[in-house]
């Protein structure tokens, strides 16, 4: 039963190595046996899923704006623009000025050349703190700071797309994406907002972004494999990808009045913080699924599994324990997109509900076919290190 205050998804903006936009992703991901786009040499021994060619001008009209950002912020601003376009909000000053925004963000790119020069000089200097002052005061580009600030992705979305109702940035890897979607949905359900832009972006093609995983040995090394097949492989199991995912969440009544296409309804969004060092992540994930009140019968699950050994094994054991669930781990094909992971999972779930069809298996050895019409689709993001969340996405009608 739909209600006027339901949360619906009325706009989707996606970028990954597979391309850009919901249609391109649907076409690629429904091609049986589709191969991932991989870059195995630039960051060897790590493989990444690189960005596709993007004409930034299409969503960031001013060159001056583009110059103020590095790739991460451009990617997020671009993906946000795609979602706004898709929802028919871009360029509508009234709707943009009242639109709320929750962005899930990490940090932007450091200047690798400056850092490398400082590190090289540190080998022959004992006064490293003085060295740091000497180099940073003379070699840092002043505006680079703004390209690194977490909340400046949202800031750039305000500047470029004029979304100015409110602007909040959540940090904290996958959990930030979960909390962003959860908070946005709660705002709409309670009548605080009518339409919200929510999402994130991750640009992995930068050594610091890989270092953020590798300081705990989370990255997979050696040849690419689907996420479910990385247990026991060399390294920690995560293969990263560059990408962005933004959603326009809207109160159903608001979207209907505007005469907009509704992809899907966003049902329960449930988050958690398992105390993983104590064990029992699988029980915590099972509890999240219970809270999400899964419908009876066959259920398609868009899994955000990262490949990280412990978290992925826990998620797999819970999904496998429910014979009704047919999981699709999209990171096999896109790579892990950190803060964007959960919004991406929700977007793919909404697409399946909208197109009334499931994705074929991405890993025939570990995923089972789904032949029915997915009326409800589960989306998951079990953090590679901490924090978990799931959402139930339902057919629009």
């Amino acid at each position: 039963m739909s209600s006027p205050h339901d949360v619906v998804i009325s706009g989707i903006g996606l970028v990954s190595s597979l391309g850009e936009g919901p249609d391109a992703h649907w076409q690629k991901l429904t091609q049986p046996g589709v191969r991932p786009v991989l870059e195995a040499s630039r960051f060897a021994p790590y493989t990444v899923h690189p960005l596709p060619a993007i004409d930034w001008n299409l969503q960031i009209a001013k060159r001056g704006d583009q110059r103020q950002m590095e790739t991460w912020q451009r990617l997020g601003t671009y993906s946000a623009g795609l979602a706004l376009d898709d929802a028919g909000i871009k360029g509508d000053d009234g709707l943009c000025a009242t639109m709320d925004m929750v962005v899930a963000a990490g940090g932007g790119e450091r200047d690798e050349a400056v850092d490398a020069a400082i590190l090289a000089a540190s080998e022959s200097r004992n006064d490293r703190d003085v060295l740091l002052n000497e180099k940073l005061t003379t070699e840092l580009r002043p505006t680079l700071f703004l390209a690194q600030l977490s909340n400046l992705l949202a800031g750039n979305i305000s500047i470029v797309h004029k979304v100015t109702g409110s602007s909040r940035t959540f940090m904290g890897e996958e959990g930030a994406g979960v909390a962003a979607v959860e908070t946005a949905a709660a705002r709409i359900r309670s009548g605080q907002s009518t339409h919200i832009l929510v999402g994130g972006a991750f640009q992995t093609e930068h050594s610091d972004m890989l270092l953020g995983y590798e300081l705990a040995g989370y990255l997979h090394r050696g040849a690419w494999k689907p996420v479910w097949q990385r247990q026991g492989g060399e390294g920690g199991g995560v293969v990263t990808g560059s990408g962005g995912a933004f959603l326009v969440l809207e109160q159903r009544e608001h979207a209907v009045k505007r005469g907009r296409k509704i992809y899907a309804e966003l049902g329960a969004v449930v988050s958690g913080r398992a105390r993983r060092p104590r064990g029992g992540l699988d029980n915590e994930i099972a509890a999240l699924l219970k809270q999400a009140a899964l419908p009876n019968g066959e259920l398609l699950a868009i899994s955000g599994a990262s490949g990280a050994h412990a978290a992925t094994a826990a998620e797999k054991s819970v999904l496998d324990a429910n014979p009704a669930i047919a999981a699709r781990a999209f990171s096999s094909l896109t790579g892990h997109m950190k803060e964007a992971q959960f919004p991406f999972a929700v977007a793919l779930a909404a697409l399946a509900a909208d197109r009334k069809a499931a994705y074929p298996v991405f890993d025939a050895a570990n995923e089972k076919p789904f032949s029915g019409i997915p009326r409800a689709v589960l989306a998951t993001a079990i953090g590679y290190h901490q924090f978990e969340g799931v959402a139930l996405v339902k057919a629009a009608d």
């Binding site: 590190l119 080998e123 002052n133 600030l149 909340n151 500047i159 940090m171 904290g172 605080q192 050594s207």
Partner: protein, 423 residues
């Protein structure tokens, strides 16, 4: 019997615990004594060498065990210390808080000390290749934890027994206010009876200082550090980078009264509006900040005439103070010249991600103590900014309601309205 619902039928949100740390000290008592005597916490930087730096002063917190251990550990300790004071005052279980956590904290990066030690522990390859190779050989994850944006909140959640997925947020210099706003909203939506909102910032590293310095945002008044932060003065020349933390225990008034808690103040309203003009400058007409103030008043159900005092953002940068004056005079009209408006930052500097929470804590104390802390260093008023800034000396005054402003890079504008008593 107090009214338990506000003008929009929502749960009224009370404050039942307050904690604070700044360069002036740990805890409300020390901070309040210093603030009301007009003492500055700004001092010369000793944490790292200041060679080549244009700014050599700050409001760093140098007296905690983690003060020299890097931004992530210090930010955690600041948050924990303030939260401990707040939770203790509330009388709630300090290990089993039982509500969600909202943490405003600075974006994290791998500290340079760690970069240097990782890099110099090996000699093969150069640059990032070497760092990555050393990284994957590490046997412990403590360095890794300092680079995860969610780790500080995760530790705090363990420490205080908060419920659910903790939210770590950044809205730049408005972050502390946003953390409070998120807590207020969660209670109003009925998601919880209580929330722990913290703003903490221990990120005054050399690189952070240089980055702000390169944007010409910092005061270079190095010779007399305690005089460097001079909000609303004609010769103000930038803000003073500082550290600190503020924590509030927020509770529905109903739940607080039911357990017999002391009500320290009421969070009446929150308002925000993003600016689409520029990354660091506000729209010349001040309309976003004006809209944020008005949104906070509307949310609080108060008119302009019902605000007794403004706890200003008052950073001491030429741009902020001019724009804040424009915004406030637009909202408050002629009354602006006669209502008290002071800046805590004149004494504690700009605590960045913590500022909104620290200043909310001081705003609540202003009402409870009936004393308005002064704007110090107000020796050379800016003739273009005619305000009653409570110059140089504290003022005894009954204050029933406060507006606290927070504005940040990236077009962030968040305002809080607090009241002494429930409606």
């Amino acid at each position: 019997m107090a009214n338990l619902r506000d003008h929009m039928g929502r749960s009224i949100v009370a404050v039942t615990g307050i904690g604070v740390v700044t360069s002036l000290g740990v805890g409300k008592t020390d901070n309040w004594a210093a603030l009301t005597s007009g003492r500055s916490g700004i001092h010369p930087i000793t944490r790292f060498p200041v060679d080549h730096l244009n700014t050599r002063i700050s409001g760093m917190v140098d007296f905690l065990p983690s003060s020299s251990k890097g931004a992530s550990l210090l930010t955690y300790e600041l948050a924990e210390t303030a939260a401990q004071e707040a939770v203790a005052e509330s009388g709630l279980d300090a290990d089993d808080f039982g509500g969600p956590l909202f943490l405003a904290s600075p974006p994290v990066e791998l500290d340079w000390s760690e970069r240097f030690s990782l890099y110099n522990s090996d000699s093969q390859d150069i640059g990032s290749e070497r760092l990555l190779r050393v990284a994957r050989g590490l046997k412990v994850t403590d360095i890794f934890e300092t680079t995860q944006f969610g780790s500080i909140a995760d530790r705090l959640a363990d420490r205080f027994g908060t419920r659910g997925l903790p939210i770590t947020l950044s809205t730049a210099c408005a972050s502390g206010a946003t953390a409070i706003q998120l807590g207020v909203e969660a209670i109003r939506r009925g998601e919880c009876d209580r929330a722990l909102s913290i703003g903490a910032d221990g990120s005054a590293t050399a690189e952070a200082l240089i980055r702000f310095s390169l944007l010409s945002a910092l005061s270079t008044h190095n010779d007399l550090p305690e005089k460097a932060s001079k909000p609303f003065s004609k010769d103000r020349d930038g803000f003073v980078l500082a550290e600190g933390s503020g924590a509030l225990v927020l509770e529905s008034l109903e739940a607080a009264l039911a357990r017999g808690a002391t009500i320290l103040g009421i969070m009446r309203g929150c308002g925000e509006k993003a600016d689409d003009f520029h990354r660091t400058r506000s729209k010349p007409d001040g309309s976003p900040a004006i809209a944020a103030v008005r949104a906070a008043l509307a949310d609080a159900g108060l008119s302009e005439d019902e605000i007794d005092y403004v706890n200003a953002h008052g950073t001491s940068t030429p741009e902020n103070d001019k724009m804040e004056h424009l915004s406030l005079s637009t909202v408050f009209g002629e009354r602006i010249g006669s209502m008290p408006i002071s800046s805590n930052k004149s004494m504690i500097g700009h605590t960045l991600s913590a500022a909104g929470a620290v200043e909310a804590a001081f705003s609540l104390m202003t009402m409870r103590e009936s004393v308005i802390p002064p704007t110090i260093n107000y020796d050379n008023p800016d003739p273009a900014i005619v305000l009653d800034v409570v110059p140089n000396q504290k003022r005894n005054a009954e204050v029933g309601s406060v507006l606290s402003n927070s504005f940040g890079f990236g077009g962030q504008n968040t305002c809080l309205v607090m009241a002494r008593e429930p409606v």
